[in-house]
C-alpha cells in the first residue's frame, strides 16, 4: 500500500469533524421537537420545521443537486471531449430558478395545507391510492440506494486517490460521517451541512479554476492547445464522430434541466422554506452559485487536458490535477469541495429514503400508532439510517453488476416515477389516481424498454420519449376515468 499522505488527509479529517459538530447542533434543536408528538417530530425531522431561509435554501438546493457527477464525472468527461461537454453541462443552467419557480409558492402552500413532510405524503393526499404510494416509496428506496452507493464509491476512490488510505478505510470514514450526521441531525442538520458544503464547493471551484487557467498560460493559450490536441475539443460536437449529436445533447435540457423537478430530494426542498422572501432570495443565490460551479468545474476538466495528458479513468482527472497543481495541504483543502458535493447529495438522498421507509411505509401501513410517540419514531429513523448505511456499505465494497445499471437508471427512474404525478397533481384538477399510476408505469416501463432495445430513439436520449409517453398516459387515463372527489379538490384548491 502507498504511504498515507497526511498533509492532504488532515484538512479532510478536520472538515469531516465539522460535519459531526453541525449534526450535534441540529440534534439539539430536534430534541426540543421531541416534546411534541410523533407527527411533530417527523415534521421537524423531514422539513426542519419549515424554517429554511433564502441563502440556506439556495445552498441546500445547489449542493443536493450538484453531485459527484458535477465534480468528478462531468469534469472527467470534459477532459476527453473538451468544450462540447461543458456546453452540454450548461443544460443545467436553469436548475437554480426553474425548479423553485415552477414548484414555486403553490407547492409550499399546498404542503402546508395537507401537512406533507415528503413528496410521497403529497402524492398520498392528492391521489388517495395505496398503489401510488407504494410504487412511489419503492421507487425511492431502490433507485436511491443504488444512486447513493455509486456516490459512496466515488467518494472512497477520491479519498484513496488523493490521500493514499485504502479504499475500505475511505469508504468507512465517509460512510460513517454521512450516516451519523444525517441520523442525528435530520433535515435541519442536512441543510446546515449543505450550506457549509455549498460554500466549500464554491470556494474550491474558484481556486481550482484560477489555478488551472494560470498554470495553462491563460484562456487563449489553453484553447489553442486544446485545438492542437484535437480540433474537436473546441467544437460543440466533441472528438468522437456521432456521439454528441445535436438532438442527443439537447435532450439533456430535459434529463438534467427541466425534469429535475421530479427528483424527490429536490422537491423536498421546495416544501421547506420559511416565507416567500426566502424563496425569492433562494432563486437568485441558487442561480448564481449553480451556474458558477457548473461552468467552473467543467472548464477545469476541459482545460486540464492541456496540463496533464493521458489520465485514463475519468474519475481520476480531478484528484490528479489537484495533486499536481497544489502543495499537499492545499490539495486537501481544495479536495474538500468535491467531497462536499458528494456528501451533500448523499445525505439528502439518505434522508429521503429514511422518510420513505419510516414516514411513508411504517407509520402509514404497519404501525400507525407510532404517530403519537416521538421517541419511537426517533428510534426508527436512527435505526433505519444505520441499516441503510450498512446495506450501502456492503454494496459499495463490491459493487454488483446490477447496481451499476441501477445507478445509470436511478435519475431517469425517479424522473419517470415522480415528474408528472407531482406537476399535474399540483396544477391540473382532473389529475386522478388512475392517471398517476398509468404515468408511473408508462414512464418506468418505456424508459427500460428504450434503454435496452432502442437507445437514442429518434436520436434523443431515452428519457425524452419516456417522459412524453408518461405524460400522454396520464392525460388519457385521467380523462377517461372518474374525476377526483370534491373533497380532494377542495382540500388542495380551496381555502
Amino acid at each position: 500500500m502507498e504511504a498515507v499522505n497526511w498533509g492532504t488527509l488532515i484538512p479532510i479529517i478536520i472538515y469531516f469533524a465539522l460535519m459531526y459538530l453541525i449534526g450535534i447542533y441540529a440534534a439539539k434543536l430536534l430534541s426540543t421537537a421531541k416534546s411534541a408528538d410523533g407527527e411533530g417530530y417527523m415534521d421537524e425531522y423531514m422539513t426542519g420545521g419549515r424554517s429554511t431561509g433564502g441563502f440556506v435554501l439556495a445552498m441546500t438546493l445547489v449542493a443536493t443537486y450538484l453531485s459527484a457527477g458535477s465534480f468528478i464525472g462531468g469534469p472527467g468527461t470534459a477532459y476527453t471531449h473538451g468544450l462540447a461537454w461543458v456546453f452540454l453541462a450548461m443544460a443545467q443552467m436553469p436548475t437554480g430558478y426553474y425548479t423553485l419557480a415552477v414548484l414555486g409558492k403553490k407547492f409550499a402552500i399546498v404542503s402546508r395545507k395537507i401537512e406533507a413532510n415528503t413528496i410521497t405524503d403529497f402524492l398520498r393526499e392528492r391521489y388517495r391510492s395505496d398503489a401510488v404510494v407504494i410504487v412511489a416509496s419503492l421507487s425511492i428506496i431502490f433507485f436511491l440506494i443504488a444512486a447513493m452507493s455509486a456516490q459512496w464509491v466515488g467518494a472512497a476512490r477520491l479519498l484513496q486517490g488523493s490521500t493514499g488510505i485504502s479504499y475500505r478505510t475511505g469508504l468507512l470514514f465517509f460512510g460513517i460521517t454521512v450516516v451519523v450526521h444525517t441520523a442525528i441531525g435530520g433535515y435541519r442538520g442536512v441543510v446546515l451541512n449543505d450550506t457549509l458544503q455549498g460554500i466549500v464547493m464554491s470556494i474550491s471551484t474558484l481556486v481550482i479554476f484560477i489555478a488551472v487557467v494560470v498554470k495553462g498560460g491563460g484562456v487563449s493559450n489553453i484553447i489553442q492547445n486544446m485545438k492542437a490536441i484535437d480540433p474537436g475539443m473546441i467544437t460543440p460536437y466533441g472528438v468522437q464522430e456521432g456521439f454528441m449529436t445535436k438532438t442527443w445533447v439537447t435532450s439533456f435540457w430535459v434529463l438534467v434541466g427541466f425534469a429535475t423537478i421530479g427528483l424527490p430530494s429536490v422537491s423536498q426542498r421546495a416544501m421547506s422554506y420559511k416565507d416567500t422572501k426566502s424563496l425569492n432570495q433562494g432563486i437568485k443565490v441558487g442561480t448564481i452559485v449553480s451556474i458558477a460551479i457548473l461552468l467552473g468545474m467543467h472548464l477545469v476538466g476541459a482545460f486540464g487536458s492541456t496540463l496533464v495528458s493521458g489520465i485514463e479513468s475519468g474519475d481520476l482527472v480531478l484528484p490528479t490535477l489537484v495533486s499536481q497543481i497544489f502543495p499537499s495541504v492545499i490539495a486537501g483543502i481544495v479536495l474538500a469541495g468535491p467531497l462536499a458535493a458528494v456528501m451533500s447529495t448523499v445525505d439528502s438522498q439518505l434522508l429521503v429514503v429514511i422518510g420513505a421507509i419510516v414516514n411513508d411505509l411504517i407509520i402509514n401501513y404497519l404501525k400507525p400508532e407510532l404517530s403519537k410517540n416521538s421517541k419511537a419514531v426517533s428510534r426508527r429513523t436512527t435505526g433505519w439510517a444505520i441499516i441503510l448505511g450498512i446495506i450501502i456499505f456492503i454494496l459499495s465494497m463490491n459493487p454488483p453488476e446490477l447496481m451499476v445499471w441501477l445507478n445509470l437508471f436511478a435519475t431517469a427512474g425517479q424522473l419517470s416515477t415522480f415528474l408528472w404525478p407531482t406537476i399535474l397533481g399540483l396544477y391540473w384538477k382532473k389529475a386522478n389516481k388512475q392517471g398517476a399510476l398509468a404515468s408511473m408505469v408508462a414512464g418506468i416501463g418505456s424508459y427500460i424498454y428504450f434503454d435496452y432495445f432502442l437507445p437514442r430513439p429518434l436520436g434523443l436520449h431515452a428519457i425524452v420519449p419516456a417522459l412524453t409517453l408518461s405524460l400522454i398516459a396520464f392525460v388519457i387515463v385521467s380523462n377517461i376515468t372518474e374525476e377526483p372527489s370534491d373533497e380532494i379538490i377542495e382540500l388542495f384548491w380551496g381555502v
Binding site: 450548461m90 426553474y98 419557480a101 402552500i109 384548491w493
Partner: protein
C-alpha cells in the same frame, strides 16, 4: 357554502385559494424563461459552432460559439432571473388561510395592486 364563487371557471362551490392565480403566473414565467434560455443556448451554440474550426472567431480566448451560448448566456439569464424575481414575483403568506383571511387578501390585492 353560500358565498359567491370567486373564480368564474370554478364549477364547484368553494372559494378557490386567491393566491393560486399569482402562483400559476409565476410558474409560467419560470417555464418561459427556461425555454428562452434553451433557445439562446441552442441558436448561438450550434449556429456559430457548426462552422469549420478554422473559421472560428474568438472572444476572450474562447471560441465565440461557446462564449456567447454558455458564458454570456449564463450572465444574461442570471440577470433575467433577477428581473423576473424582483419585478414579477409577489410576496405572500404561505400558511393555511381562513375564509376571512382569504377575503382580506383579495381586498388588499385589488386596492394595492396594479
Amino acid at each position: 357554502m353560500d358565498d359567491k364563487s370567486l373564480d368564474s371557471n370554478n364549477k364547484r362551490k368553494f372559494i378557490e385559494d386567491p393566491r393560486y392565480k399569482q402562483c400559476n403566473k409565476e410558474a409560467i414565467y419560470g417555464v418561459i424563461l427556461g425555454l428562452i434560455n434553451m433557445a439562446w443556448w441552442y441558436i448561438f451554440g450550434y449556429g456559430l459552432g457548426s462552422k469549420p474550426v478554422e473559421e472560428y472567431s474568438y472572444i476572450l480566448g474562447f471560441p465565440s460559439w461557446f462564449f456567447i451560448s454558455s458564458i454570456l448566456g449564463a450572465v444574461v439569464f442570471t440577470i433575467l432571473t433577477f428581473i423576473m424575481v424582483n419585478k414579477l414575483f409577489v410576496d405572500m403568506p404561505l400558511d393555511k388561510m381562513t375564509k376571512e383571511e382569504a377575503e382580506e387578501y383579495i381586498m388588499a390585492n385589488e386596492k394595492g395592486g396594479k
